[in-house]
């Protein structure tokens, strides 16, 4: 392993964790990411046993998960494997596909509610223009958030992940923190 020190997207050695009245926001730097795109004539693979989801959806498997990004394109997530060359593993698992390392391209915020779905949905309604009635468990979408392009993933009823481009980390944190703190009053 390298002796260099990794810094999170928010610029610290340790990921940021902040607790608010009903919600926790956790920076998740441990998530490995790689995109997978079909090539001409390639058969839709099932890397690590994942059944690649349909448009607008996210599925979780054993330690890995995937969400749809665009036509014939998915993002594969692997919890706790950010330090590994996960893209290389994915390429091995789906050799006919285009695989691109994305781990450090994104900042991932895990937002968890401690009191049901309401505070989470109230927060999302301040941030993104998505119809929450159509945003149940297993939905994932990409949309604009304060002029940043972000993925929003419903991991479960009380857990949403928001992913933005890494260089926007500070601005995205500001947007989330501001919106959450306004929910409390």
């Amino acid at each position: 392993m390298t002796d260099l020190t990794a810094f999170t997207a928010l610029g610290a050695a340790q990921p940021r964790l902040a607790s608010f009245e009903a919600l926790d926001i956790r920076e998740n730097p441990e998530l490995a990411l790689a995109s997978l795109a079909l090539r001409r004539g390639s058969i839709r693979p099932a890397p690590f046993g994942l059944h690649l989801p349909e448009p607008g959806r996210w599925v979780a498997g054993q330690g890995v998960a995937a969400f749809w990004v665009g036509p014939d394109q998915w993002m594969i997530e692997a919890e706790g494997r950010a330090e590994e060359n996960f893209a290389a593993d994915l390429k091995q698992a789906s050799p006919d596909c285009t695989v691109t390392e994305q781990t450090d391209g994104w900042i991932v915020f895990e937002i968890v509610s401690r009191s049901g779905r309401a505070p989470l949905e109230e927060l999302l309604s301040k941030l993104v223009n998505i119809d929450l009635a159509d945003f149940e468990l297993g939905r994932a979408t990409r949309t604009g958030l304060e002029d940043m392009s972000c993925f929003v993933i419903r991991r479960n009823e009380t857990h949403v992940a928001v992913m933005g481009a890494r260089s926007f980390a500070g601005s995205l944190w500001h947007a989330l923190e501001t919106a959450v703190s306004r929910l409390q009053t």
Binding site: P55, G56, W68, V69, G70, P71, N129, T141, R142, G144
Partner: protein
């Protein structure tokens, strides 16, 4: 506006970047005898209809699909939307 994305359903128009007239798909043959004139039309000339217009919308803040959207420029009613990729492939298969 809401754009009826053929894969993702109704989406906020602000997720899209407007690319203009669908004829941008019909890039002229660069080897044709009148290539320069054809490109001149292609690059500079656009119809500006009051009524039904076919245009390209790029889902830049979404799934990055280019769509061909058929829209009335008078009422903003959207009459249909399809993936530009499918549209372009069909066009090419049409033998043009």
């Amino acid at each position: 506006m809401l754009i009826p994305h053929p894969i993702l359903g109704s989406r906020d128009a602000r997720e899209f970047t407007y690319l203009g007239d669908v004829r941008l798909v019909d890039r002229p043959d660069p080897t044709g005898p009148d290539a320069e004139a054809a490109f001149c039309d292609y690059v500079f000339l656009r119809d500006n209809p009051a009524g039904v217009h076919r245009e390209l919308w790029f889902h830049e803040q979404g799934d990055r699909s280019c769509l061909v959207v058929t829209r009335s420029t008078i009422t903003h009613d959207i009459l249909g939307a399809e993936l530009a990729r499918d549209f372009a492939l069909a066009r090419k298969r049409g033998g043009e």
